[in-house]
């Protein structure tokens, strides 16, 4: 049993108003007329998100699920880790998303010799004043693209712990606060690739989603080739314009935060995450931060789907992106060829949907 595909919207009244022979019931199909309509006006949210989607869609072919989840993370105020083999447009997608937002953007290329100060910044002595001045590093931006994050060793990774969770950088006893929004979009190649390190668990836990970027379909790849052949591939970034300001995003996030979540759905989230801590195939289960991530993500996804409440479908859809990087398989399960996604799927199937 798989959750609803991301691009299949929740059936709305208008969508299902097609003629049906035997079952053309007297059920009213106008959502507002029945009284079953969102109590919050989500039209601004869906409209602005659609504008972002359109901008990115000018360049990126396919990857609709990826784009949808990136937007969910943006609305849920979460960081995203994009994993995929080289050449599947991970970096391009992240750059395009950043470009649609009218906020400061920075890019850090992680290399094996990168030091924490190269990321966070450092204090410089000013001889004339006789004191130290803090020079902010490239992390001080609203959207930070960390390319090839797993090519830097653990020492540099640990520099990100504080800033990713607390949105502050403490240097020489002074806490420097990040601007709002602050989103880290990191890309990495699979760990099996040469010259990469496994990210520390504490850091992985700070990513809202880990999204696997796959290969395009045949039709999508042909479309990519056609676009490139006709000169489209020259400067794709210039086509994309900023459509969402920091204030707009803050307002949308506030709206997402007000989504309704029924008590049984909260319990459903807790049960799914709790099962990861007792599963025999797992060496490390997910933390309560994972429960919060699942909740926040589900609220954002529900809003994107035009609902002002969360359903178990939203939770199921996001279970794998939220949990796959937070759990560790036992060596036996790894040797058997099991994957975290398999275990998450089994866990979701073992918990009853509240209804």
């Amino acid at each position: 049993m798989d959750p609803q595909p991301l691009n299949e919207p929740t059936p709305s009244a208008a969508q299902d108003a097609e003629p049906a022979s035997a079952f053309a019931s007297g059920a009213p199909t106008d959502a507002a007329a029945t009284g079953f309509a969102p109590r919050t006006d989500l039209s601004a949210l869906t409209g602005q998100v659609e504008a972002v989607r359109q901008q990115i869609g000018q360049v990126i072919v396919g990857q609709q699920d990826l784009l949808e989840l990136l937007l969910v993370a943006l609305l849920a105020d979460g960081h995203v880790l994009l994993e995929g083999v080289p050449g599947v447009a991970k970096t391009l997608t992240a750059k395009l998303l950043a470009r649609t937002l009218a906020v400061p953007f920075s890019r850090i290329q992680f290399t094996p010799d990168l030091m924490p100060a190269d990321v966070l910044g450092t204090s410089i002595f000013r001889p004339t004043q006789g004191d130290f001045e803090f020079r902010p590093g490239p992390i001080f931006a609203s959207v930070v693209l960390i390319d090839e994050i797993n090519r830097a060793p653990a020492k540099t990774q640990s520099a990100l712990f504080e800033v990713m969770e607390e949105r502050t950088v403490t240097q020489d006893g002074t806490a420097h606060h990040m601007a709002t929004p602050f989103v880290v979009l990191a890309t990495q190649n699979p760990v099996e690739q040469e010259g990469t390190y496994r990210l520390p668990e504490a850091q992985l836990d700070r990513f809202l989603f880990k999204l696997n970027v796959g290969y395009p379909t045949l039709a999508e790849e042909v479309q990519i080739l056609q676009g490139h052949h006709s000169g489209f591939g020259g400067t794709p970034l210039e086509k994309v314009k900023p459509v969402l300001s920091a204030q707009d995003l803050a307002a949308l996030r506030q709206q997402v935060g007000q989504q309704r979540v029924e008590a049984n759905v909260l319990e459903y989230i807790a049960k799914i995450v709790g099962q990861t801590r007792a599963h025999k195939a797992l060496y490390l289960g997910a933390s309560p931060r994972a429960s919060l991530a699942l909740l926040n993500g589900a609220k954002a996804l529900a809003a994107l789907r035009g609902r002002d409440f969360v359903t178990p479908e939203d939770v199921q859809t996001l279970a794998a992106p939220v949990l796959r990087h937070r759990i560790m398989l036992t060596p036996e399960r790894e040797m058997e060829g099991g994957t975290p996604d398999d275990v998450v799927k089994a866990i979701v199937q073992s918990v009853e949907v509240p209804r």
Binding site: M1, Q4, D16, F23, E352
Partner: protein, 278 residues
């Protein structure tokens, strides 16, 4: 350092080297014809016998035959230490397990002590060894033994942590009446929706499973009874707004929803069973 080593080596090699050479020389001289093929061992034995002087036959001396006394023989036979035939019973004071094993062996011994029994035992033993080896090889190769005979393994029942109401056991009429009487109309909407899910399951339009979401059932229904999907999608939406969305349901709204649910249920009754699942 190198010099010291050389000196030490010289000291060791001097007398021992000479002794070794002398020993080697002695061995070469003592060897009768080094390199010549030696005769086989039996021939050498015969040759030694032939060269020895023959001894005269001892015809006079008769070895006396000594026999133990009959009394002593009886005494020895009576001693437990000299009785080499194992008893089939358990020794005195043995535990339950030892007595059980002894009984089992007493029962099996006549079977395996025959010639046929020994052959059977050999077959069983080597058969088990072969099967163990085969199992180990197949396990190492990760071959799914359950598929050897062409049948996929049956999915095990899911270990659900908690069970809510079983829709197949719930008395919907009573539960609905109670919810309506209590004014809990959100619950009444939910019960009406669960009743529809039961009807859909009974008619094989959907396959009820506690981990499936409403959208999963909608997709199943779209495959089994496409014409029923739009109406059921609307009812699903109403249920989700009322239950997950915690939308207050007024009496008028409830009447509307309940009527839609009844209508769908009646239409479902006349729809027959799903052809692809029945």
């Amino acid at each position: 350092m190198r010099k010291a080593n050389t000196k030490r080596l010289g000291r060791v090699q001097g007398p021992w080297g000479h002794l070794g050479l002398l020993l080697l020389l002695g061995w070469l001289l003592a060897a009768p014809a080094l390199g010549a093929p030696r005769p086989p061992r039996q021939w050498r034995a015969l040759a030694d016998t032939a060269s020895a002087p023959p001894l005269p036959a001892d015809a006079t001396a008769q070895a006396p035959i000594r026999r133990p006394a009959a009394e002593r023989l009886r005494e020895l036979r009576g001693q437990r230490e000299l009785q080499y035939v194992e008893g089939t019973g358990a020794p005195e004071g043995a535990g339950f397990l030892a007595r059980l094993m002894a009984w089992l062996w007493r029962w099996l011994a006549p079977v395996f002590n025959t010639k046929g029994g020994r052959v059977a035992w050999d077959i069983i033993f080597y058969g088990l060894m072969g099967a163990t080896l085969l199992f180990a090889v197949l396990k190492l190769l990760q071959v799914d033994l359950t598929k050897v005979f062409g049948r996929a393994p049956r999915a095990l029942p899911l270990a659900y942590e908690t069970g809510q109401e079983n829709i197949h056991e719930l008395n919907f009429a009573d539960a609905l009446a109670q919810a309506e009487a209590a004014g809990n109309l959100r619950l009444a909407v939910r019960l009406g929706y669960l009743q529809l899910l039961k009807q859909l399951t009974d008619r094989d339009f959907i396959a009820w499973q506690p981990d499936k979401t409403n959208q999963a059932y909608l997709r199943e229904l779209a495959a089994s009874q496409p014409t029923a999907r739009p109406a059921f999608a609307e009812l699903t939406r109403q249920f989700e707004y009322a239950w997950y969305g915690e939308l207050p349901v007024s009496a008028a709204l409830y009447q509307q929803v309940r009527e839609s649910q009844r209508q769908f249920g009646q239409q479902l009754s006349g729809a027959g069973r799903a052809a692809h699942l029945a």
